[in-house]
């Protein structure tokens, strides 16, 4: 279970205090697939970082009674001066899992070959995505947080990601943030809409999408 209880997030900026999230609250049960739709800059990534615990809310509480991943975003979260394998070892150490057997998995999944032993800064965007996704799958979580999954990689890579995440780990909960309603419909059972810092829940998926589409026309 994840409980988000009246969460507010404000940032201090040069031009004054920026209110990014206002009084956001919802719960996610084990196995539930939740989508959060929102336009660019609506606060989706902030919300997902708050849920992961990487950032802390200005006020309100977030309780996690199941294990929650870091925001899987296919690029960030890795140190450029380290090699792919070093990054894997670091993540494994931080999450307390052994890295020996996971090296083979990463080698197989990422298809990076000898590049796994080169610093990540020399990787192309596609290589980074393969590394990031491979490492993300090294640790087991009850709930995966997925931030804008669709942007990178070729078709083959996307299919393999979807198989790993949505089929093999289909029984886990997931929270997906995206601005893509099609992707959302495919992978979520329930959608919420993030607009101007507040989160709206809807009775049905279609209602949420309708509302989202209407927002685009205005």
């Amino acid at each position: 279970m994840i409980e988000v209880d009246s969460v507010c997030k404000r940032y201090r900026t040069r031009t004054g205090v920026q209110h990014v999230l206002e009084n956001v609250g919802f719960t996610v049960s084990p196995g539930e697939k939740v989508g959060i739709l929102g336009r660019n800059g609506a606060g989706k990534s902030t919300l997902i970082r708050l849920i992961s615990g990487a950032e802390l809310p200005t006020s309100g509480r977030i309780m996690r009674s199941m294990s929650v991943s870091w925001p899987l975003a296919f690029s960030g979260g890795f140190q450029g001066s380290l090699t792919g394998l070093d990054n894997l070892r670091f993540i494994c150490r931080v999450y307390g899992v052994s890295h020996q057997e996971r090296v083979a998995y990463l080698e197989e999944f990422s298809e990076l070959g000898r590049y796994l032993r080169e610093p990540v800064k020399y990787y192309s965007a596609g290589m980074r995505a393969r590394l990031a996704f491979g490492i993300s799958m090294a640790v087991d979580f009850d709930c995966f947080l997925i931030d804008e999954i669709v942007a990178v990689g070729d078709n083959r890579f996307r299919q393999r990601c979807e198989r790993e995440l949505f089929e093999k780990r289909g029984d886990r909960a997931r929270i997906v943030v995206s601005h893509d309603p099609v992707f959302m419909r495919e992978h979520c059972e329930r959608a919420m809409l993030l607009e101007a810092g507040s989160l709206n829940t809807f009775d049905s998926f279609d209602q949420a999408l309708e509302h989202y589409a209407a927002g685009g026309r205005q």
């Binding site: 970082r49 802390l56 200005t58 960030g76 979260g77 070892r89 670091f90 931080v94 307390g96």
Partner: protein, 261 residues
Amino acid sequence: MEASLRKSLAIQCRVVGALMLREIITRYGRHNIGFLWLFVEPMIFTLAVMSLWELLQVGHGHGLPPAAFAITGYSSILMWRNIAGRCINSVEPNLVLMHHRNVRVIDIFIARALLEFLGATASFLLLGTAFCSLGLAEGPVNILAVLEGWMMLLWFGSSLGIFVGSFGIRYELVEKLWHPLTYVMFPISGALFMVDWLPPPLQKAVLWVPMVHGVEMIRAGFFGNSVRPHFDLGYLSAVCLALTTLGLAQSRIVSRELVPE
């Protein structure tokens, strides 16, 4: 997840360990002697400074073995200066790692402080042993007293590190002032003299400098009755405690506002 204290401690140890290994690889790489640089670097520093002091006859004329005087003095400087210096600007390059919930600002400080502590300690130990076996110095009279002084300097260095590290995140001025400050502190930090050698009014003034007390403690242990040390453990502890409290409070404030890269 409401974790118990023991569980949290286990997580923190894991994270600090991971950060230390990461730090070693990014700093020293896997070329030539790799992580051995961690203490070879301070050893080279100490040897170079020792030779210079020998030429300038720093600390001569008071009946103390020059090699031991230089090792105790310069190792003490390395301890607080390296720990605190490494804590400044330590969070920015690690922001990508903050995507992981259990990696917190304080863990980065702890990891860096521990590494510098290990480097300075290994350098102190190796050089000390080498000079003793070469007959250039005699072993410490009271090893526990040396250890006590060394630990106090560790506390001072780490509390200063957490202080300048966490204030430096919000105020760039901290980093700008740090470098001139270390230069000014070098001659008055107690490494180049013993307090007893100074005229009484100067003694009083120099005893306001916290690390002087730590160096005096180490030398008191090292040289025993051949020196008259001046130090106040209570004063040094009070300064460390104040720095620790302020530093921890500020690191808590900044970690509430930190945005992972």
